[in-house]
Amino acid sequence: MAMRIVVDLNRCLGYAQCVPLAPKTLKLSGEEALEYDPNPDDAQRQQVLRAAASCPVQAIIVEQLAEKKK
């Protein structure tokens, strides 16, 4: 089971507060370009939630529900 996130990279300004909090999910390429795993393993959940909360511009969008698909 994976969780789902998407980072609004228009909003992201490369503060990179999130990177040390969830290094397996969020990485910097160079000094400003953020790359991330959109569907990280559930084991990463707490780290990802902390990383999302730490973003000064709140660019990390986390799934709001576990909806039954289809």
Partner: protein, 470 residues
């Protein structure tokens, strides 16, 4: 039938059909429920997958870090929709609101949201396009195939077209240690979006990273071996290259064919709509119950001389769908205009390239902050003495500073920012290439002489008018 003009009944019991199940379709569905729409909602998508995010497909996915089917979009709320995935819409009967599907089914709606997006423009020679090792990149299947080909360590990758997608993939190739040639017909990478002056910086970035960048050349032939796998490419300057993988990154084609005969203003330019996302019919009259959002939409924008703009951008899918959803269910007096300040980004060669406004609408450029030499800078684009766009390379924290000036129709050149201003802040031509000829344009003709007979007639072409070599 509850008509959208009968507000409350429609909001409670109406039927809405969303055609397109990607970012715009999903966010549109969520926005409809947020707006209080409690009727029947159908979402039709030609791909078999639930909505997924595309930007990672040319970056993290090609690097091999993220699997191609691991970019599913997070849901913002329950949408209680009937999902019809893996079946394309093939037709629309405007009078009855019936959408025809590829499997013969029909779905009727009191209001429709068209969000069918775009597809990758294929390599124009169909026989060569079928060769093993020749790819385009738009869907998660495309991404999975290309990633597997890169992981197999080809001798050389050829990227045809140095727009954002092509440049991003070239960047990944170098990061993976693969030899890559980029062939671009314009004078520089990213020239169409950013002009040749910024393109020249992008070209240096590519060459410094070890890309074999060739500008001002096209690819005239792809040749396969006995097993029909691509092995050679011929360039317009006569050069032959040995290549095992070819990515045709030639831009996109809007998915409008299914609307043929529907009587809407739909063609190679997309689906024209008003600033409230309502589709125009063939005559340019606004429709009441058909809305458009995302890559396929084309609407007039007050900031850009009321010209019709189509924005193939992530935020346009999200924000356009939200406005369309609002206007689908609100009272007429509550309608909102969709007036985005366009924004986009691209990660390549360890640089973060961001734009705001519409740089390609401008004709002049000035470096306003930072250092072009260090590839860390902000530059503003101007047209007729006002600022209409800006680009940053690893300078994103200042982008909104320029955005605010664009929104205010501020002067160009803009006043000095007061921080990190380069010594040489001359205004120069931005050097955008001339617009290329469009392909497969349909004819729209006027018929009738009396006012009550006067009408437009849509004459689709069965064959593309001309095939544009890449």
């Amino acid at each position: 039938m509850s008509s959208p003009t009968n507000g409350n009944a429609f909001k409670k019991n109406g039927r809405i059909v969303i055609i397109g199940a990607s970012l715009a379709g999903l966010r549109g569905a969520e926005a409809l429920r947020n707006e209080g729409f409690s009727g029947h909602l159908t979402i039709i998508g030609d791909e078999p997958h639930e909505p997924y995010d595309r930007p990672p497909l040319s970056k993290q996915v090609q690097k091999g870090w993220v699997k191609a089917d691991h970019t599913k979009l997070p849901r913002m709320r329950k949408v209680d929709a009937e999902w019809r995935l893996g079946v394309a819409a093939t037709g629309l009967d405007r009078a009855s609101g019936v959408v025809r599907l590829a499997n013969g089914d029909e779905v009727a709606g009191d209001a429709l949201l068209i969000a069918t997006g775009v597809r990758a423009r294929p390599w124009p020679n169909p026989e060569e396009a079928k060769l093993e090792g020749v790819y385009t990149l738009r869907t998660c299947e495309d991404a999975a195939r290309l990633q597997a080909a890169l992981a197999a360590r080809p001798r050389r990758v050829l990227v045809i077209g140095a727009g954002f997608i092509g440049s991003e993939v070239a960047s990944v190739c170098r990061e993976l240690g693969l030899e890559v040639t980029v062939a671009e017909r314009a004078a520089a990478p990213l020239a169409g979006a950013l002009g040749n002056v910024i393109g020249a910086i992008a070209a240096e970035m590519q060459r410094d990273a070890g890309v074999d960048l060739r500008t001002g050349v096209g690819v005239t032939k792809l040749e396969g071996d006995a097993k029909r796998h691509v092995r050679h490419a011929r360039l317009s300057d006569g050069t032959m290259l040995d290549v095992d993988v070819v990515l045709a990154s030639l831009g996109s084609i809007r998915n409008v064919e299914w609307l043929e005969g529907a009587g809407l203003a739909a063609g190679f330019w997309g689906v024209a709509c008003d600033a409230g996302c309502r589709a125009f019919d063939l005559h340019g009259l606004v429709t009441n119950h058909i809305f458009v959002a995302g890559d396929v939409a084309r609407s007039p924008h007050v900031l850009f001389e009321y010209q019709f703009l189509s924005l193939e951008q992530w935020a346009n899918a999200v924000l356009g769908a939200e406005i369309a959803a609002h206007n689908m269910v609100c009272a007429e007096t509550e309608r909102r205009p969709y007036l985005p300040l366009p924004e986009n980004w691209s990660g390549q060669f360890s640089r973060n390239i961001k734009t705001i406004g519409v740089p390609s609408f401008g004709d002049e450029l000035v470096f306003t902050q930072g250092s072009p030499k260090e590839r860390r800078f902000a530059a503003a684009y101007g047209r007729r003495g006002r600022i209409i766009g800006a680009v940053t390379f690893d300078y994103g924290k200042w982008l909104q500073y320029y955005g605010a000036q664009i929104e205010r129709s501020g002067p160009f050149p803009p006043p000095a920012a007061g921080f990190d201003v380069p010594a040489d802040a001359r205004v120069v031509p931005a050097e955008f290439p001339a617009r290329g000829a469009t392909t497969a344009a349909p004819d729209v003709v006027l018929t009738g002489h009396e006012p009550n007979e006067r009408q437009a007639e849509f004459r689709p072409r069965t064959e593309p008018r001309q095939k544009r070599a890449a």
